[in-house]
């Protein structure tokens, strides 16, 4: 095994407006090639800030201290080429007036030096890989013609179109209902395994994280309070906050597991 794919060293992020409150504070974290790392925490814990920082997508108002190394180099990974990013709201991450096939082909065209016909064929193949029914039709469909789950599959296809080595999923399933959520998680697991991609899975759902990840990092108020093997964290949490999260999860999720029967999902 070579060195880590991503090394985060003493990373702190503040938003300029208020330099005293940290969105992230002194984070040290490595992601190994092919590893599946889950970051969990409540909203405001800084977990999304971390995902955006790794992808170089922080807004210009953010002040960043510390270093992020990509393959041991002090350089930011190239979005799309090195890192695929899947956002929470798939309907908001697709251009409403662009055919979804084109939106995927764009990525291949930009990064893989393919002409539009090749890129378009690649888009078709990707739509098949993310298991969209009738990919030939979906290729020319627009986002509003697809369901939420289908849109997220398209967004995933666009994220992996250039064969990145790291896939970041930032709350990628939390806007979906439970059954579709499970399908998308299964899809991500399969794609990551097939392509040997590393996965950074950001979620507030500790059970989901446990299901998918090799390791879990628990964030709270901008700090990493716990990091360990998924099993260890779930079965023997060291930090009181992690215990609280686990308890809260069981209490909350017991009912919804049966209640919403999937409607209009893929």
């Amino acid at each position: 095994m070579t060195g880590p794919l991503v090394s985060i060293r003493d990373l702190s992020v503040t938003y300029r407006r208020d330099a005293t409150s940290f969105s992230l504070r002194n984070i040290d974290l490595d992601i190994a090639p092919g590893e599946r790392l889950a970051i969990i925490g409540e909203s405001g814990s800084g977990k999304s800030t971390l995902a955006l920082a790794v992808a170089g997508l922080l807004p210009p108002t953010a002040a960043v201290n510390g270093a992020i190394l990509w393959s041991g180099q002090l350089q930011l990974p190239r979005g799309g080429r090195d890192i695929g990013f899947v956002f929470q709201d798939a309907s908001a991450s697709l251009d409403p007036v662009m055919a979804v096939g084109r939106e995927i082909a764009e990525v291949a065209h930009t990064h893989l030096d393919q002409d539009w016909a090749q890129a378009e064929r690649r888009a078709l193949e990707l739509l098949r890989r993310v298991k969209l029914p009738d990919p030939g039709t979906v290729l020319h469909a627009y986002p509003h013609q697809l369901s939420g789950g289908q849109r997220q599959r398209v967004a995933i296809a666009a994220a992996i179109a250039a064969g990145p080595r790291l896939l970041i999923a930032d709350e990628a399933t939390s806007a979906l209902d439970t059954i579709v959520q499970a399908e998308i998680v299964a899809l991500i697991r399969q794609l990551v395994a097939e392509d040997g991609m590393a996965l950074l899975f950001v979620s507030h759902d500790i059970a989901l994280a446990a299901e998918l990840a090799d390791r879990i990092a628990v964030f709270r108020r901008g700090e990493m309070v716990e990091l360990g093997k998924a099993n260890a964290v779930i079965q023997a949490p060291e930090h009181a906050y992690t215990k609280k999260l686990l308890d809260a999860h069981i209490g909350l999720d017991a009912e919804p597991m049966i209640a919403p029967v999937g409607h209009g999902h893929v």
Binding site: L57, F87, A92, S93, V97, E106, Y142, A158
Partner: protein, 328 residues
Amino acid sequence: MSRALLLLRRRLVGSIFVLLIVIVGTFLLLEAAPGDAVDAYLVSTGGDAGLVEAMRQSWGLDQSAATRLANYLWALLHLDLGQSVAFSRPIRDVILERLPVTLILMGASTALSFGVGSALGIYAGARPGSVRDRVLSTASLALYAVPGFWLALVLVIVFAVDLRWFPISGFETIASGKTGFARAADIARHLVLPVTSLGVIYLALYLRMMRAGMAEVWRLDFIRAARARGLSRRRIVLAHVARNALLPLVTMLGLQSAQMLGGSVVIESIFSVPGLGRLAQEAVAMRDTPLLLGIILVSAILVVLINLLVDIAYAFLDPRVGASEASA
């Protein structure tokens, strides 16, 4: 395609109602005009007063208002707009003769304002808040405040009187015997100043709409997603930001066509371009109210047709239009 057709059918029905209202409106204005067509005829010809009653009868002017409205509608249905007193010819023929010139003028002005305006708008909106954005934004606001007819005079002073680059007036060189491409080039030379005078205010409008629209699109999540995919800035600006910001501009084309027809009255008068606008000015000058109202009616029909075209174009540009209707 069925999406666009459905939309078109619904718009067409609405348009017919709208045109009916316009017809009733022009009829009311016609009625309100002091004196009638016979008086105007007598004024212009100085004809025999004994003829008056006979003429009123033969033109149906002695009947009730309702009957006259019915007659008016009936005549319109046969594409009969009545007789122009000023030109002693059917109004329809006079208008049809002038229409192509106005269409050329408006088409060129629209192309100029939409093309250059949206291009400059994209240039400004590509970097919101930059120096070039602020310069173009301020300049466009200043241009937006310039009345077309005054701009026309300034352009004439500079480019026709002083520099002699372009002819002062007219649609083409009279009796030049030019044909084909030479004639087209001659007309183009004549139209540079009128087209500019007519189009500049809309150029400013489209520029402002485009940069404002782009400023909004930049904030949307799918642009952040496009950045996350590592697309080039050029591609994000053109294929995503500008592409989405273009839609309201297309809608504006319909509204603008009506305003531009109004603006062409003054511009065509200044440059002696023999189009519909100058005809309207002549109708006013010669107190030919039926001709003026005929022009209004034809303009309204023109605007309705342009709006239908714009709707079709919009349906092609925005896949979301009419989606709910087609699936229902």
